[in-house]
Amino acid sequence: MVAGVGVLRRYHLAEAPQVMVHVADLGMACCAVEFAAAVSRGLLIESRDIPTMDPASPSRHVLIVSGTVTHALGPSVEQAWHSLPEPRAALAFGACTISGGPYWDSYSVVPGIDTIIPVHRYVPGCPPRPEALIAAIESLAQEAPLEEVG
């Protein structure tokens, strides 16, 4: 299920509620289930109801691509990245998004999303655990805004 381009949900980390990470979750395949697991376990909390956000606290837009990206859907990933406002970062979640994973040699799979968008974090796994996702988001959120890579 590809999240609609332009759909951007705000999540904050349960352990660091002041750090707002605006996550665009592009759930393509199995890894999307681990993203959902992180949400259902309360590690990532949707921020609909946060009444006020401290403007001084760091906030970052993170595009999280979870799951195999086919050549046919590559443009949608690009579009999602380009529609994300600054400051922004992209996170490749799982082997398929890093290198194509099990489908590295496929005729229809993008061999790593870094071939189509800049990527700032790579989370290895097939799929990675929700804990790995949270740690990667945390490390991104705590950094100063990044220059666009590549």
């Binding site: 046919a72 040699d105 229809s108």
Partner: protein
């Protein structure tokens, strides 16, 4: 019940099956065989749940069969998929690709078509224990034997 035949008989057999009440398309697909492509179609008669298999062998090169899209509109997508994946020309049918990105050459589901990434990437398993020279080259699955480009002989 199985009906086998040449591509010319393919459409005829489908037409007869539909006339016999087998009007529900379960699948239309293909099997890569030596020397060509076997077309298979499974039609179901909903009244009594009986079904009929129709098969035909479309030989290389240029495997083809007449389209059945006017007999059963449901074959539209499967014919397009078999066309792009196996290279079978459904004469009179739709040339529009179904799944593959525009402009892509080749027919990926034929065994003769090797995955390019596998040919290009050096296989780490080539090396021998202790860095010794191998008597016979190990080759991973899906990678072609290299041929002498001049004589065409296998190395």
């Amino acid at each position: 019940m199985l009906v086998e035949g040449q591509p010319e008989e393919w459409r005829q057999a489908l037409q007869e099956a539909i006339a016999d009440g087998f009007t529900y398309l379960d699948l239309l697909s293909a099997i890569d065989r030596e020397g060509g492509v076997e077309l298979i179609c499974h039609l179901v008669r909903l009244e009594d749940h009986r079904s009929r298999w129709v098969r035909a062998f479309a030989a290389d090169p240029n495997p083809q069969a007449p389209t059945s899209i006017d007999l059963l509109p449901a074959v539209s997508w499967p014919e397009r998929e078999v066309r792009e994946m196996f290279g079978v020309e459904f004469v009179g049918g739709s040339p529009v690709p179904l799944l593959l990105v525009d402009g892509r050459e080749g027919h990926p589901l034929r065994k003769s078509e090797l995955l390019r990434a596998r040919q290009e990437r050096p296989w780490p398993g080539e090396a021998e224990p202790g860095g010794r020279r191998a008597r016979r080259r190990h080759r991973p699955p899906g990678v072609a034997e290299p041929t002498d480009s001049v004589s065409g002989r296998r190395q």
